[in-house]
Amino acid sequence: MLLIPCPYCGPRPELEFAYGGEANMVRPADPALLNDDDWAAFLYQRSNPRGLHAERWRHVHGCGRFFNARRDTVSDLFQASWKPGEAPP
């Protein structure tokens, strides 16, 4: 089980969290202007890296807030976490 560093509450067990998928997947401002390839890329394509992954978590059974984190997908170790709107450390 992961020990996840919530930037608001500190390290807590994984059971308190919900995974929120890859971070920085920004919804296009006007989807109607996109072609089908770009829209499909936004909806379905993911980085899925073997290594550092920027991702979102939500501390559902704690403060309830979303935050960002960077984790190594091979070791599962968290390198950093930060609040929405902050620059990644």
Partner: protein, 421 residues
Amino acid sequence: MSHVMQRFSGFAIARQALTGHMGWGRQWRSPEPQPTYDAVIVGGGGHGLATAFHLARDHGMRRVAVLEKSWIGGGNTGRNTTIIRSNYLFDASSRLYDHAVQLWERLSQTLNYNVMFSQRGVLMLAHNVHDEQVFKRHVHANRLNGVDNEWLSASEAQAFCPPLRIDGDMRYPVLGAALQRRAGTARHDAVAWGYARAADALGVDIVENCAVTGIVRDAGGAVQAVETTRGRIATRKLGVVAAGNTSVIMGMAGLRMPLESYPLQALVSEPVKRVFPCVVMSNSIHAYISQSDKGELVIGAGTDAYVSYSQRGALHVSTHTLEAICELFPQFRRLRMLRNWGGIVDVTPDRSPIIAKTAVPGLYVNCGWGTGGFKATPGSGDLFAWTVAKDEPHPINAPFTIERFRDGYLIDEAAAAAVAH
């Protein structure tokens, strides 16, 4: 390049017995990679080895290599729960998976290797009205597609699987079950070894400890070669069958995939005498269980929630499954679990695989089998070999393109999976 395969038969065993079984040779070679191949398959799991076998046997391609970064069958082929079934909901998936079951039914003869395919039946339990309606819909859809599936009442399910508890006082009582009698299990390692041996006999080079580190393309963008940890290998046809590592390999050709990789766990108990006659799955409470010929109860747990390549899963995920198993089969409560492990499964947004050409000429991909690829091994190899050899999909895998995500033709089997991953 090929060598004569030592065929297995009753006569061969009797003859070997006369010399103390000292005459059994190596089952396949361990060749150095050649500088050039007609086709290179990346990934030496069951699907990759089956692809190479069909390329050599059915499409006359004798200069074929399978590149495996570690040892063959050491990834998901050796890590799954060996369940085989074809009771998928949609026409396209039903055709795809039943094509595989038909090949399973004669695979031991095809490969001259006992893969211990056992059609012991797969029961999928219904615990609420929604399950019952969904499974009955599956039964009807399957039968319209010529795939066997039938509805059993709770007591009929217990008659088929006597260890099953059907008391009304369970938290999630068993209301009935869908049964596919042609479904079952096979020996997973034997599948990898049998395909390796048969492909090798047809001249395929199986190169282990050879990781792909780059894809070289010519001025027109077409595949020209692969860079590997054992040197550059030229080829015009590159088939990627790398399961959880597909996104990494495809990234070497600049392609982003509609895939995410998750750890999926399985575990086995200490071996016991024959106590469990079939495969039982429960979607709603997340459990699947069967008994291997060694006597271990083979139990499948769920995926972790997050992207990972760690090949291990969290304890709370397997605990969740064991709680469900103990509810259904209280007599197993005191069994010890012997081993658990994880494999990395590549999951598509619609939970259906991709077996297709790509935007890069000469680059083909067979991926996205998610949590249920083992069952499709022979069919996947057959269809992918066709696609690689002819540069066009076979009619059965034609719907399973990458472009379906762009064009909106999703094959949404998410709800039809055996368990909710």
